[in-house]
C-alpha cells in the first residue's frame, strides 16, 4: 500500500495546515532573529544567504505528510515572511521575485517526492525501515537544489553574476543544514516532552 498517497487522500483539517503555516513562521523567526545575527557576526557578507534555513525542514516534513495540500500553506507562509522582513517591496519586479521564490519554495519538496515516486521509491513509513529520516534528508538536499536554482533565477537582479555559483551553493548548504536542524529540533522537543512527562 502506498501510504504516502493515502495519507494525503484522506481529509486534512484546516487546523493541521495552519499548524504547518505557523511552524514555518516560527522556524523562520528562529532563523531571522537567532541564526542570521549569529552568522553575521561569524561570517559577515553572506547577504541574503542563511547557513541554516530551518524552514526548509518544515517544507520537507510538511510535504511528506500532507503532499500537495502542503504547497499552499508553505507558499503563503513564505510570502508572509518575505513581506514581514523585506522593507523594499516597492516595484512590481520585487513582488514578482518574491512570489516566484515562494512558489518554488512551496513546491520544491513536492516535486522531489513526485520524482521519487516516478522512480518507484516510496517513502512510506509503514513499509520503510525505521531510519526514514535519512531519505528525508536526501529529499531535503534534492529539493534544496531545485529551490536554490529557482531562487537564484527569481533574485537574479539582486545577485551579482560573479556571486551566482557561490550563492547557489550557499542556498543548498543552508537548506540541507536547515533540514537536519529541523529534525534535530523535533528530536529535542520530543525528548523534552517524554522526559518531563
Amino acid at each position: 500500500m502506498d501510504f504516502s498517497i493515502t495519507m494525503a487522500d484522506k481529509n486534512v483539517s484546516l487546523i493541521e495546515l495552519m499548524i504547518l503555516f505557523l511552524a514555518y513562521l516560527v522556524t523562520f523567526a528562529i532563523v531571522w532573529f537567532g541564526v542570521k545575527p549569529l552568522q553575521a557576526s561569524i561570517f559577515p557578507g553572506l547577504g541574503i544567504l542563511s547557513l541554516a534555513f530551518i524552514p526548509h525542514g518544515v517544507r520537507v516534513l510538511g510535504t511528506w505528510l500532507y503532499r500537495e495540500k502542503a504547497i499552499l500553506p508553505l507558499i503563503l507562509a513564505e510570502l508572509f515572511c518575505s513581506a514581514a522582513v523585506t522593507s523594499n517591496l516597492q516595484s512590481m519586479s520585487d513582488l514578482t521575485s518574491h512570489a516566484i521564490s515562494a512558489m518554488v519554495g512551496g513546491g520544491c519538496a513536492y516535486a522531489v517526492l513526485v520524482l521519487f515516486e516516478t522512480a518507484n521509491i516510496r517513502l512510506d513509513f509503514r513499509t520503510h525501515s525505521i531510519r526514514l529520516w535519512r531519505p528525508l534528508v536526501l529529499v531535503g538536499l534534492m529539493s534544496s537544489v531545485l529551490n536554490s536554482i529557482g531562487k537564484s533565477l527569481a533574485f537574479t537582479n539582486q545577485i551579482l553574476p560573479e556571486d551566482g555559483l557561490k550563492t547557489l551553493i550557499g542556498f543548498i548548504a543552508g537548506d540541507t543544514i536547515g533540514v537536519m536542524l529541523c529534525l534535530g529540533l523535533l528530536l529535542l522537543i520530543s525528548r523534552k516532552i517524554h522526559l518531563t512527562k
Binding site: 525505521i130 529520516w133 523535533l186
Partner: protein, 91 residues
Amino acid sequence: MTSLIRLSALYRIIRGMEKDLCLDQLSHSERVVLMSVVNLADASGQAKTDAIIDDCKEDGLSRPTVFRCLKMLTKTGKLHNDQFGYYKPAL
C-alpha cells in the same frame, strides 16, 4: 484518525534518529527513573530511594520496577549509589 497516523509517522522518524544517535539505549521506565533521580537530586547531587519511588509512582511505575531500573542504571554506570540508599547521576 489520519492526524494520529501523521503523528505516528513523525514519531517513527524521531525513533529512527534516536536509534542512529544511540539515544534509545534506555527503556521508558529506566528513562523515567533516571530523570527522577536527576530532578530529585539535592544540593549534594543525591536523591533518596523512597523519594525516587514516590516520584516514579506518579508515572505509573511500581516499586519493583523502580528497584529493577535503579539496579540496571547502577550496573550500566549511569547512576552511583551508596549504602544509605542514596543515588546520584554518574554524568
